[in-house]
């Protein structure tokens, strides 16, 4: 069953068609890889799904509901969370607070009193955040300012922050960028662990080894359109994909 469904979604910037009539289906419980050369529209697709850019045309449905026009801040409570290609942590907040913000805001939708929503303290959040810290390998670092973490730690914290709201769908925008081989192996394990917990994953990534190893299916974008879709093995053998990446006849 499709958890996320894009139907004919386009996003134009002036005359540039960053994505153009994109149909994409993310099935519940799978890890879908989204690949494509630079400028093929991958990041635009993620930004449209998370509501940072409204689509110029098309329809987006999540979990059976139309979210095409839903405000960005509501997508989290619908169950969509993401990480960013260029890390966007709250640098002046502590590790713990970074997770707390995301965890709490997700619950705001539930009809809670005005006072507890605004004035509420940190009680009741400890257990969940403790688990996230352990998952991200950041236990014992909770009082550190996020901006003081090393690059790899920041990536792990952002990953954990995206999970703090207990999303149904996790969008990972180039999570392996700038990582070494050991860190990528860790990331591979983390992505699988997340899926084990029942979270569906859409992985946007340049690092082919990771994509081929961890995904169930792969969709390929080029010039804002989907040119291929299939299992990692099918994609590797696909002529149009090889052409998009390598150019010419291969």
């Amino acid at each position: 069953m499709a958890l996320l469904e894009l139907q004919g979604v386009s996003r134009h910037f002036g005359g540039v068609r960053a994505i153009d009539g994109l149909d994409l289906e993310v099935r519940e419980g799978e890890i879908l890889g989204l690949i494509g050369p630079n400028g093929s529209g991958k990041s635009t697709a993620v930004n449209v799904i998370t509501g940072l850019y409204p689509p110029s045309a098309g329809r987006i449905a999540f979990d059976g509901r139309d979210i095409t026009a839903a405000a960005t801040h509501r997508r989290l409570s619908e169950g969509i969370a993401r990480t960013f290609q260029n890390i966007r942590l709250f640098g002046g907040l502590t590790v713990w607070q970074n997770l707390w913000v995301a965890q709490n805001s997700a619950r705001d939708r539930a009809a809670r009193g005005f006072l507890s929503r605004w004035m509420g303290g940190q009680s009741g959040a400890r257990e969940g955040i403790g688990k996230l810290l352990a998952f991200a390998g950041l236990a014992g670092r909770e009082d550190e300012l996020a901006s003081n973490l090393a690059f790899g730690e920041q990536r792990r914290l952002e990953f954990a922050r995206a999970l703090a709201a207990k999303p149904k769908l996790l969008l990972l925008d180039e999570p392996a960028a700038g990582m070494n081989a050991g860190e990528i192996a860790d990331l591979d394990e983390r992505i699988r662990a997340v899926r084990e917990r029942g979270v569906t994953v859409l992985l946007i990534e340049h690092h082919m080894e990771l994509v081929m190893a961890v995904t169930d299916r792969v969709a390929v974008l080029n010039f804002g359109q989907k040119i291929a879709e299939g299992t990692p093995a099918q994609i590797q053998a696909h002529s149009a994909v090889r052409k998009a990446y390598l150019g010419g006849d291969h």
Partner: protein, 292 residues
């Protein structure tokens, strides 16, 4: 030496109102990266509206006038947000700057027309109290101005650092896009920031009225300029910076006034600003990283 100490301490006490105004500029800048030029005028306007409490009944206690100014300031803050930010595209850096300049002029005009340009008496508390330590004295009304301002700052800091609303506000100021994707509603944080800074401005206006003894439309422009100077010296976006800079500017200008007279006072304040712009352009407390 005693004169110096005396005017410095009087200035620092009065400077607490500058600190409040500086906080108002700096908070809005921190959250929205916009300057609200109408803030000083709205603060004075809030104090004027508070005076209406007195007009309702002459026997009403003075703290009620202060409280009225406080609430009216919050209301004006909300109105400034609606008129100058809510419907105006925030992506254009000049649009909101001009809309708030327009609001500054509008509030000024409304004050002038409703009062026929005449200064209005503003009540004070403890203006007959004088604490003496040998030759050194502390004016009771100035002390009250200082204490009320400090209490408001403490309340604000508690709100910013001890509540979820404050956490959301800080998250937005550090990384607005990620904050939205963490489920924080940007518009709500923005409007709340305007109401809270408006409340602080109303109190600042009331305390200025109490310290000076009168309200006049001539207050708005110098207050706007002082507020911006305090914001720059403190470091744009830094609340602790605005507090320290407010007290510093208050003390500095009063000492200058002692030695050079009131006519040269603001000249030296400008020189202080100039020195900061040249030697420490980030201000006393340049905000910690995290803004991309």
């Amino acid at each position: 030496m005693l004169d110096l100490l005396q005017s410095a301490s009087d200035g620092v006490l009065y400077g607490a109102t500058y600190a409040l105004i500086g906080i108002g500029f700096t908070l809005v800048f921190g959250v929205m990266h916009k300057i609200n030029m109408a803030y000083g005028a709205a603060s004075v306007g809030g104090a004027y509206l508070g005076l209406m409490v007195l007009k309702l009944g002459a026997g009403l206690p003075v703290p009620l006038v202060f409280f009225g100014s406080f609430l009216a300031g919050g209301l004006l803050g909300w109105m400034v947000y609606l008129a100058c930010f809510h419907f105006i595209p925030l992506s254009s850096p000049l649009a909101t700057l001009m809309s708030t300049v327009g609001m500054l002029l509008l509030i000024d005009e409304v004050i002038v027309h409703t009062t026929d340009g005449m200064p209005q008496n503003y009540p004070a508390l403890f203006d007959d109290v004088m604490l003496r330590f040998g030759e050194f004295t502390l004016r009771g009304d100035l002390l009250l101005v200082f204490l009320v301002s400090v209490a408001c700052m403490a309340g604000l800091l508690a709100l910013l650092y001890r509540t979820r609303l404050g956490l959301a506000t800080r998250a937005v100021s550090q990384q607005a896009i990620a904050a939205q994707l963490c489920g924080i509603r940007l518009a709500q944080v923005n409007v709340t920031t305007f109401v809270i800074t408006g409340l602080l401005g109303g109190i600042a206006g009331a305390m200025i009225g109490a310290a000076v003894g009168t309200l006049s439309p001539l207050l708005t422009t110098p207050l706007t300029v002082k507020g911006l100077i305090v914001t720059v010296i403190g470091g744009l976006g830094s609340v602790p910076g605005a507090i320290v800079a407010g007290l510093l500017v208050g003390g500095f200008e009063n000492v200058i006034q002692l030695y050079r007279g009131v006519t040269e006072r603001d000249l030296y304040v400008m020189l202080l600003l100039f020195a900061f712009l040249v030697f420490r352009p980030g201000g006393l407390f340049a905000p910690a990283g995290g803004r991309n």
